[in-house]
Structures are given as C-alpha cells and as structure tokens.
Symmetry: none
Subunit: 217 residues, 4 copies
DNA sequence: GATGAATGAGCTTTCATTCAT
DNA sequence: AATGAATGAAAGCTCATTCAT
C-alpha cells in the first residue's frame, strides 16, 4: 500500500476551495463597489469572477452571505491592527496618528473594499446580524479605551466625555473616507499617500490641540 | 388669518395638490425609515398614506423621484438655517455650538427624515444626480467658510487646513447621529434634548480646544 | 345626489374578482390535469387562462395555494352531497348505490377536477395541511356512519368492523376512478353513463351480498 | 454455500457492481419515502448511500431511472408471489386471504418501498412508460383470473362482472395501505401483524359473503 | 382625481447532469 | 471506480409601472 497518496490533480492542495472562494469574494467586492449591493446581480459577480453563476452557490449560501463574509473576513484583520496600536507603549498622540493613517490607508490600498464597507455594510446595519453591529462596536470601544487610557495617563483632558471624544475622532476620519469613496473629495493618485499623511496628522492635531487660539477660543 | 381651514374644497386650488403631495412624502419617509428604500414597496407608501397605489403616480414620476424629493424639499430648509448661523455676527464658538445643536436636533425632531437621509439618500449618492451632490457639498462649504472666517478673524488657528477642519467637525456630528439612527447609541427619550445639548458643546469644545493637556500633548 | 351609482364598468359587479379567480382555478385544473402539479408552470396556467402570469399572484399567494383552493372549494360541495345521502330516510342499499353513483359521476362530469384530486392532492397528503387530511377523513367517517347505521337498523351484519367495511366500499370505487383517470380502463364516451351505473350497482351488490355462492363460500 | 461473503474484492466480479447498485436503490427508497420523488435531490440519495453524488450516474442514467428501477426490480417479485397463489390448488377464499395478507404485509415489512410505490410511482403513471402500466395491469388481470376461475369452479357467483369484482377486492386493500402510508390510520407497531391479519380476513369475508343480512339486504 | 387589475422585466435560487481529475 | 467542482436551464416570485374605467 502506497505511503504516498498520489493526487490526481497536479494543481492546488486543500486550499483550492479556499482560493476559489476568495476569488469570488474579490469579484463580489469589485461588483458591489461598482453597482452597489442591490444593483449587483449574482450573475454579475460570476461574470467578474469568470465562472458560472451556479458555482457561486457552491461557495456561498446566497448573495447576502457574500456581503456578510466580505465584512467578517476583513474586518477582524482591521480590528487586530487597531488593537495592536492601542495596546502599544507609545504616546497617545502617536497612536492617534497611527490609527488615522491605518484607516485612511485602508482606502488607499483597498478602495473597493472600503467602498463596500462604507456604503453597503455600515449603512445597512438595520438588517445586519447583531454580530456585525457588535464587531463595529468593538472598534469604537477600542478608540474609547485609547482616550480613557490617555486621560488616566494624564495625556488627555479628563473633563471631556471619552465616548463623545471617540466619536469626534472616528467621525472626522469617516467623513474624509466617505468623501473619497463618493469621489466628492478629489485627490491626485500620485499625491494620495502624502495627502492622507497630512490629513492623519491634521485630524490628530485638531483632536489634541483644537482649532482655537491659545489662550483664546 | 383664517381660523377654519377648509379641506376637500370642491374646486381644489393649487395647494390641495401640494397638501396631498406632502402627505405622500410624509408617508414615504415613515415607510423608508421602517423598511429602507429598497425594502419599501410603492404600495406600502400608498397604504401608509391611505390611498390607492396608482395615485402615487399622479404626484410623482416614480419611486426614485419620491426619494429625491424628500431630500430636496427639506435639505434646502436645513441649508438656509445653517447659512443664517454662519452669516450672523457672533463668536465662532457660538456658531459651532448652534450648528451642532441644529444637526442633532434635526434627529430629535424628525428622526425618520434624518434616518432616511443618512441611510438611504447618502448611501445612494453614487447614483444621485449631480444636483444632490452639489447640495450636500454646499453644506460642507458653509462649514469650511465658517472656519475660514474664524481664521481670518483671528479666532481660529491658521496653520490648519480649513477643509480638513470642516470634515472633523461635521464627521463628529454625523457619527453621533448615525449611531442614534442605528439605535446603537441608546438615549432615554426624556434625556434626549439635554444629551444633545451636552454633545453639541462637547464637540465644539474638542474642536476648539482639543483634548490635549494645556502646554502638553 | 344620484340614488343610483353609475359604474364605470359596464361589466361585472362585485363578483368580478371572484369570477376571474374562478377562471384561473378552472385553467389551473385543466393544466394540472394535463401536466401534473409539478410539471405545470404558473405561466402555463396563465396562458391557459389568457392572462399574464403576474396576475395569478394577485389572486393567489403562490402555486400551492391554487392547488389547495381547488381542493377546498370543491370538496365541501361533494361532502355535503354525501352527507345528504347518508342522512336521508332510505334503505342502506339505495344509499350505497347513490354514493357510488355520485363518486363515479363526479369523474364523468368533471374528469379533470377528479384527476387533479386523485393524482395531485390525495397522494400528496404528506405535505398537506391537517385541514385537508381532516376534510378527507370526514368523508370516510360519513361512510363508516352509514355502515354503522345500517348495522344498528339490522340491515347489515354486525360482526364486521365498520371501519374496514367503509374502506372496502370506498376503495373499490376509488380504484375504478383511478383506473379511469389513468386511462387504463377504457370506456366509450357514449357508454360512460350507463357503465358507471352498472359499476355502482355491482359494487353495492358485492358489498352487500358478496361474491360467494349462497350457502357456500 | 459460502459462509463468508467477501466484500471489497480487489478484482470486482459482476456482483460487486450489482451490490452497489442495490445499495443506491435502498438509499433512494428511503429518501423518496421521506422527501418524495420531487423533493429528493440526487445528492440526498448519495449522502444516504454514503457515496459521492457523481457516482450515482455511473449506475443510473438519471434520477427517473432510479424510480423506474425501484418499481421494476421489486414489482416482478411481487407479481410472481401473486401468481403462485393464484395458480395453486386451493379454495378461492384461501387464495383471497393469502393475497390480501401478501399486500398488507408488504407494507409491514417494507413500508418505505410501499410508500414510494403508492405515492410516487402510481402517481407518476401518467408519464410512466407503457411497460409500467402493463406491469400493474398484469396484477389486476391475475386477480380478475382468480375471480373468473372461482366463478367457473362454481365457488363464486357468475352474475357479477369479474373485472369490477377484482377492482372491489384490490381497491379495498389499496385504501387500507394508503391510509397506513399517509399515517391516517394509526396502528400500534406491536399489533400491526395481527391487525393486518384481521383486515385480510375481513376484506375477504365481505368480498365473499357481503355485508347484507342473509336473506335480507 | 382615483382605483386596482394587469403587465412582464428581472431577479434569486435550485439542482440534475456533465466531466476533468 | 470515485469525486465534487462546474454548468446553466428553468422556475417561482416580486413589484414598479401602466392604463382602462
């Protein structure tokens, strides 16, 4: 009896299924970004992926599961990155700039994914599973904790509500991203990286020092 | 001023049509808020308005026109209010607090309309007519001008990009409203007004003075 | 104010909807008889009825509701007829012949309906609502009562289980009908009525007197 | 006769294929009984058989062939048993009781097969090949011959149509079986055998002696 | 104005069947 | 023999929109 099991397929191993699945997810992201969730037909996704539409249903229960998967499989990675920043031993200001850069660069590196996230997933929470809401909530909690830690360390003012503060920070970035997603805020591609760097610093700066004149306001 | 408002006048004047139209719009707002634009059927709107669904097409070209009208007819009023605040002769801080209160109270007073605006209209901007994008853009421009005016008046720091600054301010408020719309941020109804007042002040405070410790950061 | 309400439609009154509904039911019976429930597409029914398939869904929730309605709306009439015979003051033998004739003539007069009943409804009880099973059960109970009444009146032997006896009677007729439905048992159309009369008498005769030779068996 | 039945022989003989085929048939019977022919997916059958669904197509041309085979391979055995009874040299009454017992016990011993036969095959006769109809017809002809033989032997009345008589007999039994298949007629499992014995005798009794009072009716 | 019957494009989804490995 | 990825026909159903009355 052969110790080595000869595979018929010269090609991929056990991860072949996973590969295809990801392939479909990528296609779905592209199509959702272009047409929106409701405007996208399953056949559009299949065509984008270069497969028959029936095959989509081998990998996903239905269209909605695709959207949920897009969120779940990528959001956790983002969350971990944020977590890493929050828990590091660095000045709060550095952390804020890092998180801002992380969010903005997400759009620069994966604009379609961010577009789907912002336009299709975030705004449809009404129907989202509680799991999804909780996942987004975790992000806000991390920012809130960052603020609270800064307050306890004496780096941030203690007379401001940490929850509202976290909204201010996240909201500022979210709007910039949304504006980019909707192509309302135009930025030259070559300048995108440096623009985002500037925005990250500016947001953190306003967040920490405010816009008012010293001693004035 | 007439004490008795005659309805169902035999010879309907121009405003009878307008009344019915508004009636349908109100119904549509309620239904869109409940079911979302895509989840709402024209017949749902008609039932909510207490009319036959065929009649909807006497007042609106199609379902999308209803959504657009919801935006257009109310957004201009909002814009005018913001304009009034921006152009007034008051300290910048006052203006910021006023605008924040205006936005937050919009949700308190017309939660359904704001829900539709945030979830259905903003999201579909992709397909929206340029007119709609421009209308939203005008709002951002007003805030940007407010910042620029403050900078020129010496009330605000001049070393910060006014556009980014306006994003910070609007984004912070937008997130709070979105959180309320999605019912993620729970507030007791009785406490809503005072909560929004506090949030308005806090946002303006962070925006002006920042979270950093004086002399530190 | 006019006492007479002038209708726009010259045609049907309040029962127009009902008429159309019945029209669709008739078409469905014809199509189900020809193609079977599973083989029939809603569009087939619509074409048979001369309408657009979408209209079918104005009158029925879905395809299954059509099948259920076919059963419900006609079975009750049949049950009432049986009930009338069972409760009459006549010799048991007459009643049996009448019921046999009723069942057989149902096929002669409405062969398509009986075909659908026998092939599509009766045999799919697995999925049927309890209501349907109960409705069929009532028929068997009526026959059983007929037997029991005959036993108590001294017309029928008392040493035979009435339930089994009712099965014998109904089963005999059902098989004849099924054979006709499946076109296994060929009968000339002109001779159908008299053939069924003969069968009705024969079944009742066997049921009452048996096939065995007097004193033998 | 070999005591040890070798399975999985390296060099499969002709019966290995046959074994697997039967294995699939058994699985199909179970699945058809549970879900119905239309409700059963080929993959359900394969899962029940513990094989890949593609393999089903090595043994059967398609799903319908499975159903036909279920009928054909078992019906002939049933027919032979009936034939044996009919051709034996015994009183007609004995033969009738034997056949009744044979039919009823078929359900007791192989309820799933009978369920499929009654609900799925008989129902689809419409589409069945003429071969299937003929096979069922042969059964009726055997019963008819039994009656005719009895008439010629002077055991049964000659004034009754033998064909109709055979319908009465078969129909009575069929209804009992259908009632059991649909679980309308409930019988305790332990009592099933004796119940069926009683029913067999009762049916034959009614068939021979009738329900009417001697000299009355 | 008002109604709701009527239409049919267009979608998601299922699943029998094929076939490369 | 065995697998299950891949295909795509086919069907049910929804609902925006039209239009006769």
């Amino acid at each position: 009896m052969p110790a080595v099991q000869v595979k018929f397929s010269a090609a991929p191993d056990g991860s072949a299924r996973r590969d295809k699945r990801n392939h479909i997810l990528d296609a779905a992201i592209a199509v959702f970004a272009r047409l929106g969730y409701h405007g996208a037909r399953v056949s559009d996704i299949a065509r984008e992926a270069g497969i028959a539409y029936g095959l989509v249903y081998h990998y996903f229960k239905n269209k909605e599961e695709i959207l949920n998967t897009i969120f779940e499989e990528r959001w956790s990675g983002f969350l971990e990155a944020v977590e890493g920043i929050v828990e590091a031993q660095r000045p709060t200001q550095d952390k804020l700039v890092s998180i801002a850069a992380l969010m903005l660069n997400a759009h620069r590196l994966r604009p379609e994914w961010v577009k789907v996230l912002v336009l299709e997933i975030q705004r449809s929470s009404r129907f989202a599973e509680p799991g999804q809401i909780r996942a987004v909530g975790r992000f806000f909690q991390l920012i809130e904790r960052l603020v609270r830690d800064g307050q306890e360390a004496g780096e941030l003012r203690r007379d401001v509500d940490a929850e509202v503060a976290s909204y201010v920070f996240v909201g500022a970035l979210e709007i910039v991203i949304t504006a980019r997603v909707l192509d309302v805020l135009r930025v030259e591609e070559a300048a995108e990286a440096s623009y985002y760097e500037k925005v990250a610093c500016t947001v953190a700066d306003i967040f920490l020092r405010g816009l008012g004149q010293e001693g004035g306001g």
